[in-house]
């Protein structure tokens, strides 16, 4: 089974040289640790940055330089700063190549829910609805089962939706899945130490398995 860093490491393999990438909060943020050093990747943060760098050295943090997770960060050489409307302009106009975000639930037709648990958690959607409605290439990083052991890959989302038919690829502790255009989670790769039977138990929605499924190399 993959841990959080394993999921991030596997997702990093989806990143191509030259991409503009938006990373959500949580596991997606970890992806930046595993992008090959020789790659020229520009990280977008929706509060208004292209060219987000690593955390500042101790004592060098600046209240005016934060990312969308409100963490102090640095800017790389060649970075640019812009306002929030411009930021979502480049997202809506599909200039950002890859969006990686977390989810509470994903359905077999690619619907995603990640912003609200009615009566319990009210945090808001932030930029997630704009990102999933416009991005061409969305990868979801998530835990496939909750603490009670229930699957979060469903035939239909139970929580309020963030977007419809938008998720194309999912990486979880159990494996890598494509969301098929006709509906269904197609298992592309399986995590080390996980059996097909484990995957079946952890998938409540339609699962598609064809031939031998390779083990994730991380």
């Amino acid at each position: 089974m993959l841990d959080k860093n394993g999921i991030a490491k596997r997702i990093a393999k989806e990143v191509r040289d030259g991409m503009f990438v938006n990373l959500g909060i949580g596991i997606p943020t970890l992806v930046s640790n595993y992008i090959p050093e020789n790659y020229d990747i520009v990280l977008q943060s929706e509060n208004g940055i292209l060219g987000m760098g690593p955390f500042p050295f101790e004592g060098e943090e600046n209240a005016d330089i934060i990312n969308a997770g409100k963490q102090t960060i640095t800017l790389v050489k060649g970075a640019s700063i812009f306002d929030s409307a411009t930021s979502f302009g480049m997202i809506r106009a599909q200039r950002v190549d890859l969006t990686i975000l977390g989810a509470m639930e994903v359905s077999e037709n690619g619907d995603i829910a990640n912003w609200k648990i009615p009566g319990k958690m009210v945090k808001g959607m932030g930029g997630a609805m704009d990102l999933v409605a416009s991005a061409q290439n969305i990868i979801v990083a998530m835990q496939q089962v909750n603490k009670a052991g229930q699957s979060k890959l469903l035939s239909k989302c139970e929580l309020p939706l963030t977007g419809v038919k938008c998720v194309k690829k999912i990486v979880t502790e159990f494996g890598v899945y494509d969301v098929l255009p006709q509906g269904g989670f197609k298992l592309l790769e399986i995590a080390p130490g996980v059996t097909i039977d484990d995957v079946k138990k952890a998938t409540a929605g339609k699962l598609v398995i064809e031939g031998d499924v390779p083990v994730i190399a991380v």
Binding site: F57, E60, E61, D64, S84, S87, D111, K123, M129, V164
Partner: protein, 236 residues
């Protein structure tokens, strides 16, 4: 040029009343109009509708106006990190409209551009679409559903900039620009607080983010705490 400088926050916010709708710039605690928020608390104006990306934290930013029960309705995209907000929302004391962040920014921008409606794909098929017109539009070869969203109508926009001059021209610093720039164009009355007021001519005309025509009043903030929400660092 008309001198738009006023003495302090008290003079700048003198006509904010009970029931006013106010936009407030900032992202998290970054680039928030700290001095104006302190003044609103001092004034005790009530039943405010506040439009801001976030609602501050419990003891700073807009969280302070929640503690003092001055906000009737909050329009925001993300309100985590604020227990008092959550409590007031779940108990029904506070009216809340959650808006996707890009839609929120564009509703400000369009108000500044004088365009009352615009289509956006964000929120199609979700709760956000309830009660809104949905339009199928073909553009750049893609046919998609779009929600028709409305530009904000706001009595005041209160923004925070780094530097400004007496003509009201503004320059923001780093990611403290965020919602301040679109909001500055969007208020019926726009009030800017700045860290520094510089001489006319000192700001390069090519480098001005908000032209002074949009800014009705500008003042130098008395002090800036500039609190950081999450200090994240690496070792040297």
């Amino acid at each position: 040029m008309i001198n738009r400088v006023v003495k302090n926050a008290e003079e700048a916010l003198k006509d904010v009343k009970d029931g006013s709708t106010i936009m407030l710039g900032g992202f998290g605690l970054c680039g928030i109009p700290e001095n104006s928020i302190a003044q609103l608390i001092k004034m005790g104006v009530k039943n405010l509708t506040c439009i801001s990306n976030n609602a501050g934290v419990d003891d700073f930013g807009l969280g302070l106006l929640l503690q003092s029960r001055q906000i009737k309705k909050m329009i925001a995209s993300y309100v985590g990190e604020n227990d008092e907000f959550e409590r007031q929302m779940l108990s029904g004391e506070l009216e809340v409209e959650l808006v996707p962040q890009g839609t929120l920014a564009t509703r400000c921008m369009m108000a500044g551009y004088g365009i009352p409606f615009f289509p956006t794909p964000a929120g199609v098929g979700t709760e956000v679409a309830q009660g809104k017109e949905v339009k199928s539009i073909t553009w750049r070869g893609q046919t998609k559903d779009y929600l028709i969203e409305k530009a904000f109508e706001s009595d005041f926009a209160i923004v925070k900039a780094w530097k400004g001059d007496s003509a009201g021209n503004l320059v923001y610093r780093r990611t403290a620009r965020n919602f301040n720039q679109p909001m500055a164009m969007a208020g019926k009355i726009t009030i800017a607080e700045v860290e520094e007021i510089v001489e006319l001519g000192e700001l390069d005309p090519d480098h001005i983010h908000t032209p002074g025509i949009f800014v009705n009043r500008i003042f130098k903030g008395e002090k800036y705490e500039k609190r950081i929400e999450q200090i994240t660092v690496r070792k040297k």
